[in-house]
């Protein structure tokens, strides 16, 4: 379950020598930040360096292609079970998020982007609880960052294209504020809109996925440690950690879906605010 890179593997005996007295005490190996930087498989050292998580992303893309390509290949007017499920997902994004906030006309323009964001985030999140994979493809900053930048470009482009001056005025000089307060409000609005929005989009998703992975690994490696390494009465403790691990696995499903929804919803809301005539 834990992919300990070579450098970390080299580190552990050194640390053990430095800190622990030379006894037979078993060493607990908890989750590490190195989980998110597994060793390269191909093209090491190039910009196309492929490691386990990057490969996972490509597999997810393939999976999305297969599912949605097949699900919409021969669409029936009366959908079957599989087509119905695919349609339900697409319609959820269209009706529940995009058209609800942007309306039909603007919604149509941004639907591909929002749909992409929702399903990419969802599928990449869910790998965190798939046995044998156990890591979310969103737990390395690249993917959340790229999606957040896409959302950032989308809402700025939407605002500038529709009404550049209104967009800038609404963003930096919100109406209904006494003019002298603009000294305070304008910098805050600027930072909030052009800096914090993409940063919070990225970090919310990234941290949820990192912490989710660390929690699950902690619970399950502790279970293994109690049961296998310590044994005896410690097995009772392993039952507790196992129960927590299982509960958090279900919790991670919820988080995965919720984060996909939140990411797509916030992107839509930012676009909606950019398109709004008045705040």
């Amino acid at each position: 379950m834990l992919e300990t890179p070579l450098s970390a593997a080299a580190l552990i005996p050194i640390l053990a020598l430095a800190t622990a007295p030379a006894t037979e005490t078993p060493e607990f190996k908890g989750p590490s930040i190195m989980d998110f930087f597994p060793p390269a498989i191909l093209f090491e050292g190039t910009p196309f360096e492929l490691n386990r998580i990057m490969l996972l992303r490509l597999v997810i893309v393939a999976l999305i292609f297969i599912l949605f390509w097949l699900g919409t290949r021969k669409m029936q007017l009366v959908p079957g079970r599989f087509q119905g499920t695919i349609e339900m997902g697409l319609e959820f994004v269209r009706k529940g998020i995009v058209e609800d906030l942007l309306g039909q006309k603007d919604g149509k323009r941004f639907l591909p982007l929002i749909t992409t964001i929702f399903f990419l985030v969802l599928f990449m999140n869910l790998t965190g609880i798939v046995p044998g994979i156990n890591i979310s493809a969103n737990s390395v900053i690249g993917m959340p960052l790229v999606l957040a930048i896409a959302a950032y470009i989308a809402f700025i482009w939407a605002g500038l294209r529709k009404h550049p001056w209104t967009f800038i005025r609404n963003a930096l000089f919100p109406p209904g504020v006494p003019p002298f307060l603009y000294i305070i409000v304008t910098p805050i609005e600027f930072v909030s809109m052009f800096v914090l929005r993409p940063v919070t989009l990225t970090l919310r998703l990234l941290m949820n996925m990192i912490v989710g992975h660390l929690l699950l690994v902690l619970f399950f490696s502790a279970t293994a440690f109690f049961m296998v390494e310590l044994g005896g009465w410690w097995i009772a403790a392993s039952a507790v950690t196992l129960a927590f691990g299982t509960a958090f696995t279900f919790f991670e499903i919820l988080v995965s879906v919720l984060q996909a929804y939140v990411f797509a919803l916030l992107t839509t809301v930012y676009i909606q605010l950019a398109l709004a005539d008045e705040h």
Partner: protein, 184 residues
């Protein structure tokens, strides 16, 4: 040993700083999936939704036309029914009038028949009276002659005998008439 530790610490990447390969393998999935949804999946979905909407609208139109047809048929039926009723009423009225006419005719003809029978009876009575009159006239003549001869044959001076004679004659006449009547 310390140097090794430092190297190891330095090699631990900052999770907030993306590596180039990370960006590359984020952009590729993003672009591929965006193209998939934008160019393939969503247009297909839209097409299906449009077709479905058209089908439903077509269904509604069909239902509406069927409804209109049914309404027209109902109206036609009602009109026919009313027409039939009117005709029946007319026929009944006509029959009633005809019946009344027949009744009146019958009454009239019965009255005429009755009148005819009455007239016939009266005519017969008149004829019989005439016949009686004629026969009486003849008989009375001869009887008068008889009486006269009888009176002449007897003494006419004797009042008593004359009146007896007249009485006898009358009685004879009466009985005669009775026998004639009985014979008749």
């Amino acid at each position: 040993m310390l140097a090794e530790l430092i190297v190891a610490a330095e090699e631990t990447p900052n999770p907030l700083l993306p590596a180039w390969y990370d960006i590359v393998y984020s952009l590729i999935p993003f672009i591929l999936v965006l193209l998939l949804f934008w160019r393939v999946v969503l247009p297909r979905m839209q097409k299906t939704l449009d077709e479905r909407a058209a089908l439903i609208e077509g269904g509604i139109a069909k239902a509406e036309s069927a409804q209109a047809e049914a309404q027209a048929a109902l109206e036609q039926y009602n009109a026919l029914l009313a027409e039939g009723r009117a005709e029946a009423a007319k026929i009944r009225e006509q029959a009633r009038a005809e019946g009344a006419a027949i009744l009146a005719e019958l009454k009239e003809s019965a009255q005429a028949e009755a009148a005819r029978i009455t007239a016939n009876a009266q005519l017969q009575i008149e004829a019989e009276r005439q016949a009686a009159l004629v026969s009486l006239r003849a008989e009375v003549g001869s009887l008068a002659l008889d009486l006269a001869s009888g009176v002449i044959g007897e003494t006419l001076s004797d009042d008593k005998r004359a009146s007896a004679l007249v009485d006898r004659f009358l009685a004879e006449l009466e009985s005669d008439t009775a026998t004639t009547k009985a014979a008749k």
